[in-house]
Amino acid sequence: MGTQAPGVRIGGLTVVYKTPAGELPAVRDISLTLEPGTITGIVGESGSGKSTLALSLLNAVQPPGRIAAGSVEIDGLGDVVGLAGEELRKARGRHIGYVFQAAQNSLNPLKTVGKQLLDLGRSHGVEDLRGLVREAQELLGRMGLDGARVLDSHQHELSGGMRQRVGIMLALVLNAHLVVLDEPTTALDMITQANILKIVREVHAERGLTTLVITHDIGVVAEVADRLAVMYGGRLVEQGPTREVLGAPQHPYTKGLIKAIPRLVGDIDEARALPGRPPTLATVPKQGCVFRERCALRMDVCDDVDPAPQVDQGERGPRTVACHAVTVKEHA
């Protein structure tokens, strides 16, 4: 793949989970392009399918789930949905770095970070292991940690913020240029969170990466992402340049999300929670708009017809909304 930031084109991706009620889609017919060198944020509530989407980028959807349709084209790798076995294993880590949620234990508790780094190097046929260790120390130092000390530590000797930086180091140390961060700052305190986001931004720019950040926190996306995609019930309801989407949200769900954020100044009552609950795998409507149950703009057509994404080529990049109400307004 070289040292170029790769572009990623997700086309018509559908991921289903096998349940007693049959195979239910967690991600349905999603198309999304990650331009080379950009940071894309995906926001959504728990169960919106965003983590499933992130795992699809590595063709790592865990059973009982599987990718039922669609493709994930990554420059230099081809369609990862078609990869399997050793080919897939070698792509992971080497071409695509994956950073786990900080609160999760993404390190083997019985081995030091350094030993796990060597395991990673050996797995990918790195011959210069000394060089790998040096690279890791440099990365850790770059993130404000004492590299030698951290490599000599076990997971339980590191704080949440330190673990997260180790996770980022392990995702980058093999020189992957596509990095997926799944809830990178969840369960971290505010200061550590700000630190990690700063690191993500800097490392992204320095190394020339293509980055995907998955989060439920709009603040995180506003902080780092060039483009923003909003997921609801396994569908992509709106996407576009971050500023445009946050500044002038079009989809009623996006509007509701932004309205729900409490402000630092002003009355706390101005923050309005969205009425109702997000759908689960079993309660997602099989046809029509997935958001209609909670939507103030609901129309008859929403019950039967799935709103098609309407693309609008803006100055700062394409803007997409999938909502009947928005379409009607534009054409009226």
Binding site: Q62, Y98, N105, L110, T112, L120, S123, H124, H154, L170
Partner: protein
């Protein structure tokens, strides 16, 4: 290393106190069991026509202690004897120290139980991993079922089943005893062959009855680790399958070492049924015969040996963890 020495010292001190407590409790229990073997022996000698004074003297010489001291005196004699590793003299084997009887029987227990336990541990661990990984397949199911089944059969039923099969239906193995008396004891082929031949069924019984527990424990441990995040994380980093497998195995086997250490600790007294059925002269057999013969000194010694075994096993397990689990190591440093 100082950490381990410090831990060891603490454990030994605590273990010593525990042994004293257990010795005290078993002393008073044994003391309160109705029936006095000394008095019985004394009366027997009188019946045989001995004068009362001579009979009392004879009993005292035979057993080396005063049956008519106060309770406190008897207790302090017992404890100070213990500190000198003197467990008293066997009642049924006059003149033989209990310690000698126990060490003689111990070898018939330790070797077969050790072999049986380690064998079942090894096989159980391997099958347990397989049962966990292939838990949706037929062979995985079969392994789990074999574990539940053998775990559910009581030891003595299993022992008798093996006797019926290998000694009665297909008479290829001896049903009881420890060795044929035909052979000259020592390091020679026929004698050792006879030893092994006699040990096969008891060892097989130990191994089969313990196997089920290992399979089930290892399976559930592996299933837990398989669901841990760091396994998925390693896979997503493209770590080789063989290395990921080592991550799983090492993390999953950790809790089983406690069980192994404890079952080795119980080894000294746990083979009662098996040794009884195979008439194998180990510690379990000795314990039963000491109970039926009212050999209270021997009984107390056997109880004490089981206590010491269990306490030592706990100490070994804990020290072992200090070595293999980094979390235990630093947990101590922090405190």
């Amino acid at each position: 290393m100082t950490l381990i020495t410090r831990r060891l010292a603490g454990h030994l001190a605590r273990g010593f106190v525990m042994i004293l407590v257990v010795a005290t409790i078993s002393f008073f229990i044994v003391n309160n069991i109705p029936g006095d073997p000394m008095a019985a022996r004394y009366e027997k000698l009188i019946e045989q026509g001995m004068a009362p004074e001579a009979a009392q003297q004879a009993v005292k010489v035979l057993y080396g202690f005063q049956p008519d001291g106060t309770l406190w005196q008897q207790y302090s004699d017992y404890i100070s004897g213990l500190l000198r590793l003197d467990l008293g003299v066997s009642v049924t084997r006059p003149g033989t120290p209990v310690l000698d009887v126990l060490t003689d029987a111990a070898k018939w227990t330790i070797v077969p139980v050790l072999v049986g336990t380690l064998l079942s541990f090894l096989v159980g661990i391997i099958f347990g991993v397989y049962a966990a990984i292939k838990r949706t397949g037929k062979l995985g199911d079969a392994l789990s079922i074999s574990g539940s089944l053998l775990h559910g059969i009581p030891q003595y039923v299993l022992a008798m089943l093996l006797v019926v099969i290998f000694a009665t239906l297909i008479p290829i193995l001896p049903a009881d005893g420890s060795v044929d008396i035909l052979y000259e004891p020592g390091f020679n082929g026929p004698y050792i062959g006879s030893l092994v031949e006699h040990a096969v069924l008891p060892v097989l019984t130990y191994a089969l009855s313990a196997y089920g527990g290992w399979v089930l424990a290892m399976k559930s441990s592996v299933v837990t680790v398989l669901g841990d995040d760091f396994i998925l994380a390693a896979e997503l980093r493209g770590v080789k399958r063989s290395i990921v497998f080592r991550y799983i195995a090492r993390n999953a086997i950790l809790p089983l070492f406690t069980m192994l250490a404890l079952s080795l600790g119980l080894l000294l007294g746990g083979a009662v049924f098996i040794e009884k059925i195979f008439n194998y002269p180990g510690l379990g057999w000795l314990l039963i015969s000491s109970v039926t013969d009212r050999d209270y000194a021997l009984m107390g010694g056997a109880f004490l040996l089981i206590t010491v075994g269990t306490i030592l096993a706990n100490i070994v397990a804990d020290l072992f963890y200090t070595v293999i689990d980094p979390r235990v190591r630093s947990g101590e440093e922090a405190s």
